[in-house]
Structures are given as C-alpha cells and as structure tokens.
Symmetry: C2
C-alpha cells in the first residue's frame, strides 16, 4: 500500500486560523444576535484600488480577443511586472537586481513553503518565535529539525542572532505577529552571522509598505553582503489588497549558493528556476496585470491611502490598549499590535474571554509558538468603524 | 552551509519545453525571415470565451467596491465553483462526490507535483511512458524510485497493467502525448489492479473534454471501486483556454487512504487538506469566477465551439500525416497526434529537420521518455490557418 509522508503526523491536526474560525462559528451559532468584530486573521477589508481593478477588468476582456489573448506565460513571471518590481521596490532604495533574480508567484504563503523543496531535509532550521505558523509547519512536513530563537518582551520581541549554528534561518520584519521591526544594524548582525556560518536567510518582508520610519530598511538587500546569504519574499496581499487575487514574488540572487553532498556550491537561483518551471505554471496573467497596475502613480497613490487607513486603526488600537495600562508593541511600522493578555491569562483563555465578553476576535499568541503564550495579536485590517467599536468594547471591559 | 535537495542533481538540466524554446529561438535568430509555425508546446490559441472573460471583468470590478470585495477565500476553493464542478463534471456522468472532496487549485501542473508532498519518499512509482515530464521530474525531486510502463506502437500506445507492484501509478487519458484513450474496461483493469495491490492511482483527465466517442469514460470514478484507490486531476487549461488564467482541481475521495509507518490507514483527503491549507492560499477569486462561468450554458457552448475548432485541426493533421503513409495515432478523442518519425529518424533529428525544412515546430517523442524515441507529437491547438499551412508544408516535404 502507498505510504504517507510520515512527517505530517508531527503536525498539529489543524492550522491555527482554522481553529479560530471553528470557535468563532460555534459562538456565533450559540449567539445568533451577537455582532462579532474580527481583528483576528490578517485579512484586508478595504476594496481594491480602482486603478488595479480596472486594469484587471481590461486584462480579462483582452483575453477574449484573438490578437491580445495570452496563453502560458513565463513561469517566472512577465517582464512587465518584474521590471516594475525592480524599479520601485529595489532600485528606488539603491538595490540593484536583475530580472532573472525575480520569481513571481501566486503568493508569499506558497513561496514560503515551496522554497524548502530545493533544500535538503538535513538542514537545521532556526525560526524566530513567535512566528507565522507556515514557517514551522512546512519545515516539519519536510522532516527538518526546527530550533527556535525566542523573542522576549524585555527586548521588544526583537530577535537576536542565535547562539547555535543554523543552516536556514527565517526572519520576518516588520514582524507578523509582533509588529516589531529590525533596524538596519540589527539586520546587519543577521547577515554577518549568515555569511560567517553559511546560513541561508529567508527574509519575509510582506509588510514593508507599513514602515513609516524612514530609517528602517524595507529590503534585506539594503544590507551589504545580503545577496550572498538571503532570499527575500514579498507579497501584494496587504500592500495592495491582493489576499483574494493571489500574487507575490521571491528574490533569489545569483550569488546565493548551497552545497550538494559532494561539497560543491550550487546556485539556488538555478535550482529554484528548475523547481518553478517543473511544479508551477506562472501566476495568473490577470493577477500579474493587477500587480503591475499597483506600481503606476495612480495605483501607488490609491494603495498608500489604504495603508494609511489601516495605520489609523493601528494607532487607535495601540493607543487604546496602552491607555488601559496593557503592555503592547507594534502598530507604528506594522499593521499588527501585540498585546499582553491582562490578568495573567493565557492566550486561549483571553481569546475566549474577549469573544464572550466583547464579541471581538483576535489571535492567541501561543498560536505563533510557545514564546507567544500570554500574548495576543490584534490586526489593523478591519474597517475604521469596526475597529473603533472594538476599542470601545475594550475600554468598557478593561477600563477601571 | 545549507544543503540542497540532492535529488535535484538527478534531473536533466532543463525542462523539455525550455529546450525546444531555445532551439526555436536560435533558428529564428539565424533566419529572421522564416515564418515558424508552432505545433509544439500544448498551448491554446483561441481567445477566451466571451462569457468567461466578461465574468472575470465583472469580478475584477466587484473587488473595487467595499460591499463586494473578497479577501482570502477558502484554500479549497469557493462553493460556487465546487458545486458547478460536482453537477456538470460528475453528477451528469453518474458520479456522486461531495464538496469537500474537491480541491480547487491554480492548475493541474501544480497539483500533479504537489500531491506527492503528502506521500512517502519510499513509494515505488509507476509511470506510463511516454509521459508528461512533470510526473517523472516531480517524483525524482522527491527521491522516489520511478519504474516505467512502456507503451508500444503495436498496442496503440495504450498502457497495460504492470507486472510489478507499484505503490503509486500515474495514468493520463486522453493521453498526453500520444492521444490514446483508455476504454472503461481498460480503466477497470487498472482500478482492479490498484485495489488488489494497495496502489494509489493518480488519474490525469485534463483532456476529457476532447473525447467525442460516447462510450469512453471521462472520469475514473465512472469505474466501480475507483474512489478507494484514485485521485483525479482536472484542468481548465485546454477545455476553457485557461493556460494563462490558472485554475484546475483535484478530487480526493474520503474513502482513499494510504498507510503510515505503524501500518494505520490515513485518509488522504485529510492530509491533502492540511497540505493545501498550509502551503497554498487558494486560487485567484477572479480565476474561480471565470471557471464557474465556464459551467454556464453560454460558457459551455462557447468552449465547446473552441474544442470543435481544435478538433478540426486534429482531424486535418491526422488525415494529412496518415495520407503520407506515416503511422500515427490520436486526434480522434484527443488534441494530440502522435506520429512516427519518417525514415527511421530519431525524435530530435526529426525535430531539427522539420524546423529547418518546413519551419514547423513539434515535440520530440523522446522528450516524453525513452519509449517515445522515434516518435513525435503534434498539437491541434494552433490556428486553423497555421495548421493548414503546416500540413501543406508536410505534404511538400514528405509527399512523393
């Protein structure tokens, strides 16, 4: 009989956000009248920028004409999108990359897991904790040993270079779930560590558009030497409201290598290209046209407005929570507020209390790993109306 | 230093269709005046059905309004699409499946490779040969032992049940590249073999819409017992012109199991759901709306016209090639014609000869495995004008 990938049995039965969804719908069923406000899963609520939606509508209709129909596109993404990415996301910040170092995909979540396909099962993986569960689960699925770099409240939940040797290390800045952001100097410490130890850094900068502090880096390649040790994963999901449209990209510099069993250095760009051309057929043409429209002056202006809208929420949440005397970080350069659960509650108890007493849904910190126990994530992606109402309920519940 | 997935070194350097593209562009560069006709890669050329394009344009604009904006969808696909699939692709053929047995994805190519993620590396894989290269390459990437079921000219290139025990077995009918189609009885032999040996069948029916013979099965679930041993992978690429839109789906019946190391049977539906929710974020909402529009009366009528258009090409190619005394199969219930290379030429020599002497691009049979050596694939997906011109050139070149 065919065998399963045994590593799947090392996973928890279900994914964090499915657990939350189940508890919320059970509550809603028992209390049909309850008006639940969701500040849990990091899904956006603002409609798509008109410049992007209109461009996708145009691209859709273009497909119905023989002269402009598009079949298979390049698995790595269309040049029109890759050139816009190079110019706006990198050249504008002094980073020079070439078109064939950019791989457009159906989203950062896919890339996060898929990149492991080209890496050995024997690598020791370091993951900063609390962390986006996909980093951990996809490595457990591949049978890799995972070690954690615990981030602590006393250090603002910023990760430090590990005191052990990691072959692969995940970094997310601005961080999901904590909202903490690495400075250029802090990022440099990781790049130096990686180059000294032969570590592959997987840098997730899905939230870079939420940075308002001009001194903070948006790309790891702003740090000297990063092209020799890091891939960078980007997303249009939060920046441009693409959670349902599906588009992201991964940068794999030509300089970046890993070793084969004989000790030879193999360029990861070549391996990733082989993986993508074999197991993927490119992102939807329409999604790619939409992503390209994000880089037009209108697209960027409209998306910046949405980011500003969410950051108003972030500031309101941070101000309210802190005003209630509850320790919290994030919300300045990230759409997440990471708050301590009041009264020493554990994360799931606080989740239940908040759902039952305030009908507000957040994400239990322990869902992002043991180091998140006793903490809780709130997202800024709700509507301003709902967010304001949720904060009123917070004040009623926790105000003295 | 991080290590690579060593199995990648067992792959040929590049993917078949990249090789072809390179030779063609080298030829075009040397002969800028040459009018090359491409009957090689299986990409469609007919524009999208207006009903589908218009629905995707509508869905795009819907995303720009707060009331109708859609964020993350279910990773398994939207109910509106799954219900249309169940009704038209299965219930209409007497097959009863439930919504949670359907997993919508960004395409059949992704599913073909990804499904292996939930299976052990110790499985022995049987692949009918010649075959779509993705079956072989993705299993080599996972480090699995691959054995071939050679299909031979004397048997019309139809595969037979293997005389060895396979844990996983790939079947593609109508076949890419040969155009051969398994009858219900022939399919039943594989289902019986699979249930007797605990073999998991991966049934690729991407081309089922090209079947014109009413007696031939479209789904493996038309055969009794198939739900206990088979997953089925479907594509909108050729049926509805979605090669650039990206949508497909995989059926994983609840009855289907594989065993863990302790010998327990684990439902593959549960494992695949865990894989998809962790490593995938759903297909684009717009692509799913487009796929659902395919199932409307207008969408189906328009797509059927496109299929009929391509099948005119298939008939012309088959008639021309056979009229020249060249042995060929396919083209009746499949968009591929599989012809023997004339004069005992090997596949790549014939590829070069055809490119140089007739400026026609096809696919060398050996690119689909050793059993394809001396054979050649032509696709019906060109325009009728180009296909007719290509056949004139064939007649000039090979006519006595």
């Amino acid at each position: 009989m065919a065998t399963i990938n045994q590593n799947f049995l090392n996973l928890k039965e279900s994914y964090l956000f499915s657990d939350i969804a189940k508890r919320v719908s059970a509550y809603q069923e028992a209390h049909p009248e309850a008006e639940i406000i969701r500040l849990g899963i990091g899904d956006v609520t603002r409609p798509l920028a008109p410049a992007i939606a209109e461009e996708m509508a145009r691209a859709s209709l273009e497909m119905a004409k023989a002269e402009t129909f598009k079949g298979y596109g390049p698995e790595q993404g269309y040049g029109f999108l890759k050139r816009a990415i190079l110019e706006h996301d990198f050249a504008a910040r002094g980073v020079s990359l070439s078109e064939d170092e950019i791989f457009v995909s159906d989203g950062a979540k896919s890339d996060c897991g898929n990149f492991g396909d080209i890496l050995g099962a024997d690598n020791v993986v370091a993951i900063t904790e609390p962390a986006y569960p996909v980093y951990i689960d996809t490595n457990l699925m591949a049978g890799r040993q995972v070690k954690f770099i615990e981030c602590r409240a006393e250090n603002g939940f910023l990760p430090e270079v590990p005191d052990f040797k990691a072959d692969i290390l995940y970094l997310c800045s601005p961080n999901n779930p904590t909202g903490a952001v690495l400075s250029k100097e802090q990022l440099r410490a990781f790049v130096d560590y990686a180059n000294a130890n032969g570590t592959l850094l997987i840098f997730d900068s899905a939230y870079e558009q939420f940075i308002s502090d001009g001194a903070l880096p948006h790309s790891i390649y702003e740090v000297e030497g990063a092209k020799r040790c890091a891939v960078e994963i980007r997303s249009f999901s939060k920046t441009a409201g693409f959670t349902g449209i599906r588009c992201g990209y991964t940068v794999v510099p030509h300089e970046l290598t890993a070793r084969d069993a004989a000790g030879n250095e193999v360029p990861l760009n070549r391996l990733w290209n082989r993986r993508q051309t074999t197991r993927f057929n490119g992102a939807s043409y329409i999604s790619q046209r939409g992503a390209a429209a994000y880089y037009t002056p209108e697209g960027r202006a409209q998306c910046r407005e949405n980011v500003a809208y969410y950051m108003e929420n972030a500031k309101l949440i941070a101000r309210t929570v802190r005003g209630l005397g509850i320790p919290a970080i994030g919300g300045d350069n990230a759409p997440y507020i990471w708050m301590q659960c009041p009264d020493g509650l554990d994360s799931w108890s606080f989740f239940d209390l908040l759902l039952e007493r305030a009908q507000v849904v957040g994400t239990p910190g322990v869902g992002f790993g043991a180091a998140g126990e006793g903490w809780f994530r709130l997202t800024a992606f709700g509507t301003q109306e709902h967010t304001a109402r949720a904060m009123e309920r917070f004040t009623n519940l926790f105000g003295k």
